[in-house]
């Protein structure tokens, strides 16, 4: 758990790049975070990634906070601070600046076209996240697959509060 400078720089650069590519939000880039942190650099294990995803979804607050957990695991408190700032800082500046001039070009043809071109990509990225989660989360046991399928069905077709399901899923995991 040593927070030497090199690792902090790597974390800052990697997560800033990931943030700038995260069309569709934090859930769109989970496969890339997984690829970097688990497959490429071995910072965290497969199981830790699944746990951190579960924690970040279950605890109130933005889902993006999974990067705080990853950063903490890699390089302690400084790591957590660096990944969180890299993930949330640059893109917020971009959003703030764009939103000021946005009124002028929101109906311009080039903007409309760009929007139409990028939306399917952002949805595709979330689909990729679903694939990665299924192959790494649900395959571990039949019970987990059943929980995932049931949650997806209920969340898609009903308006039940998902937190009830979470409680049930956590208990089901214990049995």
């Amino acid at each position: 758990m040593k927070a030497d400078g090199d690792i902090l720089v790597i974390l800052a650069v990697q997560f800033a790049i990931i943030a700038l590519l995260s069309l569709g939000g934090a859930n769109a880039v989970l496969p890339e975070i997984h690829r970097q942190a688990v497959d490429l650099r071995g910072w965290i294990t497969e199981r830790q990634f699944a746990d951190m995803f579960a924690i970040a979804q279950a605890i109130p607050g933005p889902n993006v906070m999974i990067v705080t957990l990853v950063g903490y695991q890699v390089a302690g408190v400084w790591g957590a601070l660096v990944t969180t700032l890299a993930m949330c800082g640059p893109t917020s500046v971009l959003a703030g600046v764009l939103s000021r001039t946005w009124d002028r070009f929101k109906d311009a043809p080039w903007w409309v076209t760009m929007h139409a071109g990028l939306v399917p990509i952002s949805v595709g990225l979330v689909g990729a996240t679903a694939i990665v989660l299924l192959t790494h989360v649900a395959v571990q046991s039949i019970a987990a697959g059943v929980i995932a399928a049931a949650t997806a069905a209920v969340a898609y077709w009903t308006r039940w509060n998902p937190l009830w399901l979470m409680g049930a899923a956590g208990l089901a995991g214990l049995v």
Binding site: R35, S92, A116, L118, I131, I147
Partner: protein, 147 residues
């Protein structure tokens, strides 16, 4: 809260900003806080709203991270987290289905682009940067051509 309780912005304004933030890169809800702050009080307001929005979740996550490092191997916690991870994956699948349904109803390149993206990242596990460098301009070009 911003619209109904404080009347800081109209519902219309909120919807527009929300749509923009969903589209822009970065965590949507954090972007929204920054954009809202900047509309209210310029750069200072943006910084205030942004940090106000992140400080508490950050501290909570730090605490949870410490607890996880300490107790993450407990059998009870392991199993509960396994169930919750499956739950969270299920939620994400539902979110994806809701986003994808309207795209698949439309004609044109959108469903194709969606599948290629999901395959390249989810199945092939190619690096996000290169996939985006190739796919983003192609998809925008397709949209331009189909216009």
């Amino acid at each position: 809260m911003l619209v109904e309780q404080k009347r800081w912005m109209t519902a219309e304004e909120f919807n527009e900003i929300y749509a923009l933030c969903q589209f822009l890169p970065g965590p949507n809800i954090v972007n929204l806080a920054a954009v809202f702050g900047s509309r209210m009080r310029g750069a200072t307001g943006a910084a205030a709203a942004w940090s106000g929005f992140l400080v508490l979740p950050f501290c909570v996550m730090l605490l949870v991270g410490m607890l996880y490092l300490q107790y993450g191997d407990l059998d009870v916690l392991r199993r509960a987290l396994g169930g919750i991870a499956a739950w969270a994956a299920g939620l994400l699948i539902a979110t994806f289905a809701k986003m994808a349904t309207p795209l698949f109803r439309s004609f044109g390149p959108a469903p194709f682009v969606l599948l290629v993206t999901a395959g390249a990242i989810g199945v092939m596990r190619w690096p996000l940067l290169w996939v985006m460098v190739v796919l983003a301009p192609s998809s925008v070009a397709l949209a331009w051509w189909r216009r």
